[in-house]
Amino acid sequence: MRLAKAWTVTAKDFKTFTKRRTIVYYLIWFELIVSIAMPLIVRFAERRSKDPAVVLPRVISAFSLWFFIGAAVLPVSIASYSLVGEKVQKSLEPLLAAPVSDDDILVGKGLAALLPTLVATYCGTVVLMILIDLFSVGRLGYRNYPNWTIGVILLLLVPLAALFSVGFNVLISARTNDVRSAQQLGSLPIIPLAGLYVLTEIGVITLSVTNLLVVAAVLAAADVVTIAAALRAFRRDAILTSWR
């Protein structure tokens, strides 16, 4: 694998995304909504709750998971345009005819989906942390962020979830011929993550660092399987003869 070739593919995809405003808006709006709406809910809870010292930490902790979920959601839109978009435009054949390896292309496309996701997620998290601390510090008497939980989420769970989403979307791209279907099917990994969020909200699971590390280990194992399957699926012979 040659990183310079992969980066050429990534840079081309970035250029394409800037012309497709829907992708840019999707990234910005998702993070804006999460990073501003969540603190406003905290603000509301802080004013209405009779026992904010108990309620607020649980609500705030569960909100952190939204960035984990976001990391799985955002690559869906980008990866589906990046891979299925190439299929729709029939531009994969000339690309595969160029002196680039399958891995160069796959890594390039993976980076094109991963990097904007991580940048948007980290920017959104910074805004969220500042606003939540601003709204809650008066009632709690301490600043909630930064803490180990958000550290594990941002540094481990977010990249692992994004990577899983990219790998899963490569597999989906081999079986779909239009961007919308790819986006719908590619969103399936969100279901278990949303389940995790609900369990956290209702207090079944606590977001302790240990629990998050267990989730990270499961996700890392899922990543290995998914990426291995994606690498097998993304072979030029298979793309031109078996992909639909």
Partner: protein, 311 residues
């Protein structure tokens, strides 16, 4: 014009499960030659190009392109660096401009910034698209897109160009621009492997033609293919064809002779030697010759006959 072969295929085969798409293809293409591959839909032409471009693997036989075998990662990368492909779909990035499309592929082919800049300007000017270089190709007509696809295949100055139906779906004017461009590339010494359905195009452009239907049915120059199928024939138009004229021609030796009104179709082996004898015999028998011409059946008739006979 003897050059080393740019492509050598020996029993090249590709099967998809139990279906054989390309069956033991054996041929070679010399450097600087335009080689045309003709065949009906599903004959295996695109599969052949894809194997030679190292896009899909072979399931049997051997082939080399520019001296490299079409198997193994190192060889296939080297082959892809030396060739250009104009696929049957233009496959451009519609959101990007013509310039950006070409620049991206120039980078993939390791062209320097200067080479890319000069190459893009040269080809877009040659193809009359320079003024539209910053327009997204999604706004281009089919003909303009096809020109960009051709420029994309040439941006790294390949020695060998594979073209899969390059004029399909183009209007006559755009098709002519593309054909003229192909001839210009030949003048520059490029080797061109052309898949086409357009028999007139094949006759005008190709040095040699291969006709395939899963297997290679025939391979030769357009003229020799026609001669091999139909023989050489001379068409003689008279004011009237009499029995005496027929008898005097038959007396010259056994040969295929067809009469159609006042026209005679005579099979000849050596037209330069035999045609004067034919004319002399007709005049001696009291005939009045109006026209004598070489009869050339269209390549289409030759193609159809070869494909039908082999089927």
């Amino acid at each position: 014009m003897e050059h080393s072969p740019m492509i050598i295929a020996q029993g090249l085969t590709r099967a998809f499960n139990s279906m054989i798409a390309v069956d033991h293809l054996t041929f070679s293409v010399a450097e600087g030659e335009i080689f045309g591959l003709l065949g009906p839909n599903g004959a295996g032409k695109t599969t052949t190009i894809r194997m030679l471009c190292c896009l899909i693997s072979k399931t049997g036989g051997e082939a080399t392109v520019a001296g490299f075998p079409i198997a193994g990662d190192a060889h296939t990368l080297a082959i892809r660096q030396l060739i250009g492909l104009v696929s049957d779909n233009v496959g451009l990035y519609e959101e990007l401009s013509a310039y950006d499309n070409l620049d991206f592929f120039g980078k993939l082919y390791d062209c320097t910034a200067k080479q890319r800049r000069e190459g893009i300007e040269r080809f877009l000017k040659m193809l009359d698209l320079w003024d539209k270089r910053d327009v997204p190709v999604g706004d281009f007509s089919k003909g303009m897109k096809q020109k960009v696809a051709i420029a994309r295949a040439l941006i790294h100055d390949p020695r060998l160009l594979f073209m899969d139906e390059p004029t399909a779906n183009l209007d006559p004017e755009s098709a002519k621009v593309v054909r003229d461009f192909i001839l210009e590339l030949k003048r520059q010494g490029k080797t061109i492997f052309l898949n086409t359905h357009n028999l007139d195009e094949a006759r005008r452009l190709c040095d040699r033609i291969g006709i395939m239907k899963t297997r290679l049915l025939a391979i030769n120059t357009p003229e020799q293919l026609t001669a091999a199928v139909w023989g050489r024939r001379t068409l003689i138009e008279l004011d009237t064809v009499t029995d005496g004229i027929r008898e005097s021609l038959e007396a010259l030796g056994p040969r295929h002779l067809e009469v159609d009104g006042n026209r005679l179709q005579v099979e000849v082996t050596d037209p330069l030697k035999e045609n004067p004898d034919l004319v002399q015999a007709i005049i001696a028998a009291g005939g009045r010759v109006q026209y004598v011409e070489k009869l050339e059946p269209a390549l289409e008739e030759t193609y159809l006959r070869i494909v039908r006979e082999q089927a």
